[in-house]
């Protein structure tokens, strides 16, 4: 809006083709519940507003890009690859992730024992947390919904090839599948093999194809593929009540 001029119907200097995206224009029960619950927790001393802000800001800035960059750099630099496989915490710092953030001791559920699992032509790794949903959040962001479900957690341990095939990943019989179970003390991430067709690629180009799913181990990096698999979360066939 121009200062000093009255606003008439089209007397404003924005482009109608580039207005803001649509928003949910009503107050939902869940939005209200989140605020009410948070306020009551603070009032009862379960945590402080400052603690909540610290962890919320942490949750807002994490994502899978540092992990992808770490792997891309390891593909290009044998020394960095050695570092990543022997001292993953130091290698994480080189891509901007300090596992001691945001408290100096990490987050409550993210302890600082972190190991990167190297895929080889005959070994494919995939990660899970059979107990709950432990995940290398500082470097990979929040886990996808399907990773948290009892369905994935229970079945990937028992029938890994079947579950991987549901993600569209069929591995030859001569490739051993190792399912690495995370826990409250240890976090893992997969270092996939560099795919064919990427000779001469830069670190940025390689980073683009190393998706979150590749770092969990349910997909392989593929030139031209830069998005994760969309899976429909299904309820367990034998739910807990049974």
């Amino acid at each position: 809006m121009r200062k000093g001029f009255p606003v008439t119907e089209h007397d404003h200097d924005h482009d109608h083709d580039r207005t803001v995206k649509p928003m949910v224009d009503e107050i939902t029960d869940f939005e209200v519940l989140e605020i009410a619950l948070r306020e009551l927790c603070i009032e009862k001393g379960l945590f402080t507003a400052a603690e909540h802000r610290l962890f919320t800001e942490f949750a807002e800035q994490i994502g899978p890009t540092p992990a992808a960059r770490l792997v891309a750099r390891a593909w290009l630099d044998p020394d960095f690859k050695r570092l990543a496989l022997t001292d993953a915490l130091t290698a994480s710092k080189e891509v901007g992730v300090d596992w001691l953030e945001p408290t100096g001791f990490g987050t409550p559920s993210d302890f600082v024992a972190f190991k990167i699992l190297e895929n080889t032509p005959t070994v494919h790794n995939v990660i899970v947390c059979a107990l709950c949903s432990c995940y290398p959040r500082p470097i990979l962001g929040n886990s996808p919904e399907w990773y948290r479900t009892p369905n994935y957690r229970r079945r990937i341990v028992r029938w890994p090839r079947q579950v991987l095939s549901e993600f569209g990943l069929a591995l030859p019989d001569n490739v051993e599948v190792r399912v690495q179970d995370s826990n409250q003390k240890h976090r893992f991430m997969v270092m996939p093999l560099r795919p064919r067709g990427t000779d001469g690629w830069t670190e940025d180009q390689l980073t683009e194809i190393i998706t979150r799913d590749c770092l969990i181990g349910v997909a392989l990096p593929t030139p031209g593929v830069t998005t994760n698999i969309i899976t429909k979360t299904r309820p367990a066939v034998r739910p807990i009540a049974n």
Binding site: E31, L46, T56, P150
Partner: protein
Amino acid sequence: MNTAGEPPESVTVDTLEQIVHRNQTWPVMAGKYGVENPVPPWKTSLDGMCDAIDRSCTGDDLGFTFKDRRDEEDALSATRYADLPYPENQLVALAHSLVARGVIDEAELRRRLDAVRARLEA
């Protein structure tokens, strides 16, 4: 488990059941308004709340550990709140656990819900 030693899914929290029934979940609301964000705007605040609780409640008298929270979330998401998507099921399960444990009184929660809604709609 709540203070009476019952599994949390055996406790009915009418206030939460009503929220489930009204079904203002993010997929429904996003579809109604043509919004593309895959998760609701309050999700990171919920993440922060879970981390803050995990940090502060593990060693205190409440004994509501990270594992308790996640186990109860799994149990409730598979039973009482099976129709809710994520992260609504995580939010409602957390509220349920705190009410079932007696940390938050249900009447108190209902009053606060009304007060927050009145504030947001002012």
